[in-house]
């Protein structure tokens, strides 16, 4: 417990940028089996996204799309 975090950390970090698409990040997390991705701009830290954030946003996106399609088909508003 008195060891430094460098004894257990991951130095090979895959970062994303604010412009990276949600689908791409979801795919990267699945392929690399990671749960967090720091967000950087020109090497500077700008945020972090977890797999939970990505899944939540993806579900919201899909639900909005489904509602729009249902409205289109049934003609309800």
């Amino acid at each position: 417990m008195s060891e430094q975090v460098t004894a257990i950390y991951t130095a090979d970090v895959h970062t994303v940028t604010p412009e990276t698409g949600l689908e791409e990040v979801a795919r990267m997390m699945t392929e690399r089996r990671v749960r967090h991705a720091p967000v950087t701009v020109d090497g500077g830290l700008r945020g972090i996204v977890s797999i939970g954030d990505v899944v939540k946003s993806r579900i919201g996106e899909l639900e909005t799309e489904r509602a729009a399609l249902t409205d289109y088909i049934t003609g309800t508003r």
Partner: protein, 66 residues
């Protein structure tokens, strides 16, 4: 949707620790913020690594009983 949309919803705050932080302090930081991972950064801006609540058994910091 892009990552910028996700960050707009949750904020851009990132908890970082310096490389010389002890594992004990790390656990306190994770518990205080109720988060699963922090970025390891020398200056709070660079990304030098990432350390999470889950670590593989090969990296377990405690010595295995013999």
């Amino acid at each position: 949707m892009r990552i910028s949309d996700v960050l707009r919803g949750k904020g851009a705050e990132v908890v970082t620790v310096t490389p010389d932080t002890t594992v004990r302090s790390l656990l306190t930081v994770l518990a205080e913020h109720r988060i699963g991972a922090v970025v390891v950064s020398r200056d709070g801006t660079s990304v030098d690594g990432i350390v999470s609540e889950r670590i593989s058994s090969g990296h377990w910091p405690c010595e295995a009983p013999r």
